[in-house]
Symmetry: C2
Subunit: 333 residues, 2 copies
């Protein structure tokens, strides 16, 4: 069975939700789990250790700690210990709900990068109105990017959509302020020229709306813009829910209506729930690493393990390796 290391100390509700997520995965024989973290905190929470191993380390990275400081001082942290297990082949993937910047920094440091990848990226999954999923990358790993980085994100996103989501010829879009070629900023204009020359189903510039209407399977942007996009998506959805809650409080008829629409609202909540997709894969590092939302619950941890498993089984990293060389050649030529 596949063996996955889970950062026992990562996330706002760790270690409790991480332990129960791990138990749920081990119970259903989805994967064997190695929980890495403070044994004194983890053991008492562990009701059923069947299929679960605990590896002790008292050090962990705080959620607000800067990645560079963690990298300097916390080599013994739970996240890095988990990544070292992966590097040495003792597990096949790592899942963490901890500090995402630190996870990325340690992943690059400990695992290294695949072939020609300059900047690994965080990919997030978003349901769209075509009843499928759009991928956004980079969702926050790299705030200042060069055009070549965006081109590499495009290739990695393509591989991801093909291997893990099963889209045959994914439509790749570059996030911009308008669809016309005259739009964009300095960065996107150069990236556009680069990506156009690649062997991808590149549809050109896409707008913010296209992340949700499914016009693109993969939406490429730098990590600053991607992170803003991600959080606005969460923000709009949350504020709509607040609106409904307030409206229902004030109005009996609406409350009855809401009861009748309960299934619909539940389905919507499920769709909007980041835990539904488990987490965001870190693409471009030499190993499978899934970063979950800091607010992850048991279900998110479980789904992240499922996603990691799919990654490993579908050979995503091999596919990235096979296609990414073209970006570098393109750049040098």
């Amino acid at each position: 069975m596949i063996k996955i290391a889970v950062d026992g100390m990562g996330g706002d509700y760790a270690p409790a939700v991480v332990v129960s997520g791990a138990e749920s995965v081990a119970r259903d024989k989805i994967a064997e789990i190695v929980l890495v973290g403070n044994e004194d905190a983890i053991r008492p929470l562990l009701k059923d250790s069947n299929g679960i191993e605990v590896i002790h380390t008292p050090v962990f990275v705080e959620m607000k700690e800067s990645p560079s400081s963690a990298l300097r001082k916390k080599r013994e942290s739970s996240i890095n210990k988990a990544l070292e297990l992966l590097k040495s082949g003792k597990v096949q993937a790592v899942v963490t709900a901890g500090n995402s910047g630190a996870a990325m920094a340690f992943a690059i440091f400990t695992l290294g990068r695949i072939g020609y990848v300059d900047r690994p990226a965080i990919a997030t999954l978003h349901p769209n109105t075509r009843n499928s999923i759009s991928i956004l990358l980079d969702a926050g790993g790299n705030v200042d990017c060069k055009p070549i980085h965006l081109a590499q994100f495009a290739v990695m996103g393509d591989a991801f959509a093909r291997c893990v989501l099963g889209v045959e010829r994914p439509k790749i879009g570059l996030l911009s302020n308008g669809e016309e070629e005259t739009k964009g900023n300095e960065l996107t204009r150069e990236a556009h020229a680069l990506i156009k020359g690649l062997d991808l189903n590149y549809i050109g510039y896409v707008e913010g709306t296209d992340m949700h209407n499914g016009r693109a399977d993969v939406v490429v942007s730098d990590g600053f813009v991607g992170n803003v996009a991600l959080k606005i998506t969460e923000g709009v959805a949350e504020s709509l829910m607040v609106f409904f809650k307030d409206a229902i409080k004030k109005n009996l008829k609406a409350r009855m209506g809401h009861l009748l629409m309960k299934e619909v609202f539940d389905e919507l909540k499920g769709k909007m729930d980041p835990s539904e997709y488990g987490g965001a894969p870190l693409l471009g590092v030499d190993g499978v690493c899934i970063i979950c939302h800091g607010k992850s619950d048991e279900k998110a941890i479980r789904n992240a393990v499922l996603l990691a498993k799919r990654f490993v089984e579908n050979g995503l990293n091999e596919s990235i390796k096979e296609t990414l060389w073209q970006v570098t050649d393109q750049y040098k030529g």
Copy 2:
């Protein structure tokens, strides 16, 4: 009475909706209107010309035309003719639902900029969950910005929130990928240092979510990021509505619930409707100019005229002039 020039040819549904919007404004004696555009197209639509003057020009800027080409070839266009009326003092404001890039280019060309403004910005209005309105700027005018531009946007946004929305000491946030000072990209880090030194109620970095939860009254960003933010906001809201529509189609109980919740959904639609706020003011040009969404309807045109009127009456541009000098001093010092 205040006199406002409306670009009769601007917008996807021009001149029809523009004419009826103008009629509605004139009928209620909100303002006298000068409709600028092709008289042959406008006159036949005009049922009641009371309080409405038509100034003929056959030229207009296409929605997809590049601003630089328009600037070169279309000085006689309806939008520029309207701006010339403003420049010469024949009207007090201009409203257009036409090509926003061209409107901005002509506004700078014909009206000039206020005092120390380097880059005029487009400000959009967004309802938030605190039952008030947050301002986003720049929403698309300037894709490549320097830190000083963002600092100027902050000052202009502050003046806007004080003068037009009546917020006493507006909370100003800089849109970033996280709240911590260590976050941000090269541009925002330098802008953050600049804005901190200004006499503003600056709350530091804000995230995408804060545009909708009301933590900030004014959200500052470059025009590329701002435009992506704006369109994602529209996109999420639209995709949620598609979701509800589909769900209701499939499910009788949900359909009944939806009927009972009709008022709530209508209120929500109203809140999300860009026409509710009329349009986006162009801040920093020497004159009041409101740019409406290309898809504007009659109500949007009417509300844009109301917003323009409020601008003129509250002396927004004087307030910008009075406070903006500090940004330039700060920069030089």
